[in-house]
Each structure stands twice: as C-alpha cells, then as structure tokens.
C-alpha cells in the first residue's frame, strides 16, 4: 500500500484497522498525522524518562557535599544531557506530537498539508537523540563560547550536529503547521473562531520560523571556530565570546515560548470543557498569545545582565521583560474566570490544569525577581534561576503535557486509565515539584551557584530536601508509566464521550 493511498482512507474505515503500532512496517512508513502524533509523544516520553534519570544522578551526587558518586567531568556531561534532552527532545517535540494529533482534526482537515515531510520531521529526532547521548559534551545546554570552542574531542561537534537536527525538525514542523492552518481550514472556520490551541500553534510556528535560523547560524559559526580556526567567538582573532550569547539567546528566549505557548493552548482547550463552560475571553486569549510572541523577541539580553553590557543596553530589556508579564497575567485571569462558577468535578486533567496555572504564577513571580537587574546580580547563575526555569518547564509545560495526556488518552488509545493511580501521580508530582524547586530557589538565595558538583557544607540540609523531592517526582513518574502502559494494553474500554461533554452541549474535536 502506498503512502498516499493510506492518507486517503476515510476515518470510519480506518478505525477498523488494527492500530498502526502493531506492525513495524507501518511504524516506519506511516505518514498519518495521528500516527505521527502518537509516535512523537511516545518518543518524547522515552527521552523524558532518560533525562529524568540523569537528573536523579545529579541529585544523588548533590545529596552530600564533596564529590560522592560521579566525578566533575561526568557531572558536567550529565547536566548538559539533562538540559539538552529535556528541552529539545522532550518539551518541544511532545507538543509537536499533540499538535500533530489534534490540530488537523480541530480545523477539519484530513491530514497535515505535507504528510511525508511531517514523517521526516519525526524521524530526525531519534538520530539527534543518539548524537547528544553519544557525544556527551560537558558545556551545559547553553554551550557558552569560548568553553564550547576549546573543548577537545568531538563531543561538542556531535552536540552541534544534534542541535542542527532538532532545529531542522522544528522548522519542518512549523512550516507544515502554518501551511495546514492557512490552507486546510474547513470552510466556515475563520481566524476569529479558530480554537485557542490552533492559535497557539500559529504563534509558536512563527516563533520557530523566525528564531531557529539564528540558532542554525550561531551553531555553524561555532562549528567553524572549532574546526577551521575562524575565531568568531575568540577575542584573539577579533571575535567576541559575547556574540555567542546574543545570538544564542536571540533564539533561546523565544524558544522558552515555543516550550510554553502550546501548553497554554492545550490548557485553554481542557479547562473550559472540564468546567463545562466556554472559554472566558477568546479574543484576549488570542491577543495575549500574539503579544507574548512579539515581546518574546525583545527580551533575550535578560540572560546577560552580568555579562558586562552597558546600562543603557540592559534597561530596555528589563523593561520589556517586565512588560511580558502583562499578557501572561491576562491568560491567568481568563483561565481562573473560566473555572469560576463552572461545574468542576476535579477529574485528573483538571487537577493538572489547575496545578499548571499555580506553577505558572510561581514561575512568573520568580521571573520578575530575576528581571530586576540589581536583584539578578545576586541571583544570576544560582539555583534560584534553576528553580525558576523548572517551575516553567516542569511545573507549567510538563504539567500541561500531563493534563493533555490524561485528557486525550481515552481518545488516542480508546482505553481508560486507572483514576486512583492517576490521582496518585498528580499528588506525588505536586508535592515533589514544590519541594524540589522551592528548595532550589532557597538555595539560590543562599548563593549556591548552578552547575556545581560540590557546595559549602552548610547547604547540605537544603540540598537533601531537594534530592528527596526529586525522588518523589521520580517515583510518581513511574506510577504514570505503569498506569499508561498497563491501561493501553489491558485497560477497560473508554466511552465514546469520556468526559460527558454532550449533555452540556460541548464537544471535542476527535
């Protein structure tokens, strides 16, 4: 059967087929958006667990002062792998997975505009993952020059190649989403009435298309510096290490929004349905998404407040960073207003959605601290920043994934998961994440730098609390893994309308 034929099969007929993942040939050749979506999600979860295990090694090492179980070189590799994997092989692709699965259905399209390109975008990821993990450089996910230039061996070169690949995959995906949204929308669906998740993918995709080429440039310059002695980032030959930071953060700050906007989109679909209402403020939701996307390009130097930029270069960035809190606040208001007066039954996806909003507020408030330059002098490159970013990327983004997973699981697998285990996962994740990441912010206030393998003995109690919290997070994710796998294979059959939306006059896109 050729690929084009398969995409033509109407939905009803396709349902009678055995699922694609039972045949290796179909896994390797499928271009159907739902199959690709599931493959993205499963693969991202694999990397989520891998990067999670590396975090456990880091936390185990930090349970006591002194070098305990891993030496500094291995520690640096693991922290680089943890960051690179969580960002480029977990958060970014897992949202691409949900978008693949949901977006065409939401806009009434049969498939993505370029189904084969879509499959290519997916198959690049495992290769990138292999390159990251075989290369294992110890330069941090930010790859600051000149450390990344002078680091010997080919680990950094493999890292560069892997970053190029994930960037290419993102660009392919973004291009495809935009083509799909603007070309394949069903008649009658205007930009005004488009679901918020689709809007979040419009903004995310434009961010990817505008920012990722800059990442490609800065990586290429680094590759030249390392292998052809060009010296773009070296002071001797007339280059400047600060150039790396400008270009890298010009990509990587918008990338923070690439990592959170789809989550906001998913949450904006889930909250109203499980509150059995319509979303409050559709228009301001879209407006704030667009505003965040635009402002997101004008804040990158807030990562460089201690790099030695002039005061007049830094103050506008402080101002813009504060300004971005406003559209973020509007979103929080709208989510809460949607829940207010709704018929909340606190199903698991709703629990994670509420927790998403809570951690997003914490992340925003800790962000305002670091946005103030004098306060950042104390907090920059300390555990405070590590805590802040984990509130965003684990607290908010990852919990948005959990909310979406628990919400769409019955649609994806036609099976229902165990509710008690899912609640256990929620409780464990919540306790673990606040314990770990609030402790991180406390360690930052105590002046513990990030990316260290050892610390002052007086900081041991706090570090042990953080390690304890990390263990709770880890155990909770094992509950998730068991629940998902077991339910997928042996769970009871899900109802057609698993969230009983019909009796409230609401519906899902599936």
């Amino acid at each position: 059967m050729s690929e084009s034929e398969k995409t033509e099969i109407p939905k009803e007929e396709q349902k009678e087929h055995p699922p694609f993942y039972l045949s290796l040939k179909r896994i390797l050749t499928t271009t159907h958006h739902k199959d690709i979506g599931v493959m993205y999600i499963v693969t991202s979860f694999f990397f989520f667990f891998l990067a999670g295990v590396s975090a456990l090694f880091l936390r185990a090492e930090l349970a006591r002062p002194g070098e305990q179980i891993i030496e500094a070189a291995v520690y640096n590799s693991l922290l680089t792998l943890h960051g690179s994997t969580m960002i480029f092989l977990w958060i970014i692709p897992v949202f691409v997975g949900f978008a693949n699965y949901l977006l065409p259905t939401m806009i009434g399209a049969k498939d993505m505009y370029f189904p084969k390109l879509n499959a290519l975008g997916f198959w690049i990821l495992p290769i990138a993952g292999a390159l990251f993990w075989l290369g294992r450089p110890g330069i941090g996910w930010t790859g600051y020059a000149p450390l990344s230039v002078i680091d010997p061996g080919i680990g950094v070169d493999m890292w560069i190649l892997a970053m190029h690949l994930v960037g290419t995959s993102s660009i392919i995906g973004a291009f495809n989403f935009i083509a799909t949204i603007f070309k394949l929308r069903k008649p009658g669906m205007s930009l005004k009435t488009m679901p918020i998740f689709v809007w979040s993918m419009v903004v995310t995709s434009f961010l990817v298309l505008a920012a990722t080429p800059v990442l490609a440039i800065v990586l290429s310059l680094l590759l030249l510096d390392r292998n052809f002695g060009t010296g773009f980032f070296l002071p001797g030959p007339g280059g400047d290490p600060i150039l790396w930071q400008h270009l890298f953060w010009f990509y990587s700050h918008p990338a923070v929004y690439i990592m959170i906007l789809p989550g906001m989109g998913l949450i904006s679909e889930i909250i109203p349905r499980l509150a059995r209402k319509t979303l409050y403020g559709h228009y301001t939701m879209v407006l704030s998404l667009v505003l965040i996307g635009v402002l997101g390009f004008a804040v990158w130097a807030h990562h460089m407040f201690t790099s030695g930029l002039s005061i007049s270069a830094r103050i506008p960035f402080m101002f813009m960073t504060m300004a971005i809190a406003i559209p973020s606040g509007i979103k929080v208001f709208n989510w809460v207003a949607t829940m207010y007066g709704g018929r909340l039954k606190l199903e698991v996806p709703m629990l994670f959605a509420i927790s998403f909003v809570g951690t997003f507020i914490v992340a925003g408030v800790t962000g305002v601290f670091t946005a103030s330059i004098p306060i950042d002098y104390a907090l920059h490159d300390t555990y405070f920043v590590v805590g802040h970013l984990h509130f965003i990327l684990f607290g908010a983004s990852t919990q948005a994934v959990f909310a979406a997973l628990y919400y769409y699981f019955p649609y994806m697998t036609k099976k229902m998961y165990n509710q008690s285990l899912a609640k256990l996962h929620f409780i464990g994740t919540s306790i673990g994440l606040y314990l770990t990441f609030f402790t991180f912010t406390a360690l930052g206030l105590e002046g513990m730098p990030r990316r260290v393998v050892d610390y002052l003995p007086e900081l041991m109690p706090l570090n042990q609390i953080a390690t304890f919290g990390a263990i709770i997070i880890a155990i909770s994710q094992l509950v998730l893994l068991y629940n998902m796998l077991h339910s997928w294979l042996k769970g009871r059959k899900a109802e057609d309308d698993p969230w009983q939306l019909a009796k409230y006059g609401l519906r899902d896109y599936d």
Partner: protein, 139 residues
Amino acid sequence: MHTAKKLELLTVLGAIVILTYITAISTVALYEIDTPPDDIDRIIKVTGRQFFWTFEMPDGTISNEIRIKTGETILFEIRAEDVIHSFFIRELAIKQDAVPGHVETLWIRVDKPGEYNILCAELCGTGHTFMTTKLIVTE
C-alpha cells in the same frame, strides 16, 4: 460578565503600576550599584583562569586571596584568560562575569569584618566547582 471585564481591566492596570514601580526602583538602584564612587582606595586586578582566581594588588604583588580593610573602597578590574568565568562574592550577593577580551569592573565597600566566599558562577569546565577562594576583611 460585565463585572469580570472590569475586574480584568483593574488587574491589568494594577499589574502595570506594580511592574512600572519595580522597574523604576531597579533602574535607580542599578545606576547606584554600577557607578563607582570617586574616592577609590585601591584597584585590584582580578583574573579568572581554568581553574583559579589570581589578584594583582596596586603594588604589584600577586595573591590567590583578597585581604582588605573595612570601609575601604575597592574597584575590581575583572579579566579572563581562557573561557568565561564569573567573579561571585557570595555573601555580598554580587557578581560580574569575567569575559576573555573584556575588562569589566565591579566596586565594593565592606563594613563588616569577616571571611567572604569568592566563587565562580559560570560553568568553565571540570574544575568550575572548585574555583573558590576568600575575601578577608579586617578592621
């Protein structure tokens, strides 16, 4: 839903006022912190290398730790030899990156005698954690 709209507008306006206030006081504080006073007592040259700090006093002596007196105004000139480091005086909650090819400055005046930890805050390689020394302040 009219009240909700009003409430939302109020929230946004409130947030704008608070954030503007924070930005304003941060700006004022930043100028204060970043402008060295005219009465500098000593200039100490700080150099970061993989993986130690060296300090050159005005009289040319080189040492691996810093000894100053309370109330002395010190200006640090911060350089890096190989990769980026970050000169971080933990108890003073202040840091300045040391960037190859750049000379950055940072000034301090310490009133409380004691030992202060100097750390490196920017990942600079395998010895990053251990790039530590002391600032010793005596009466």
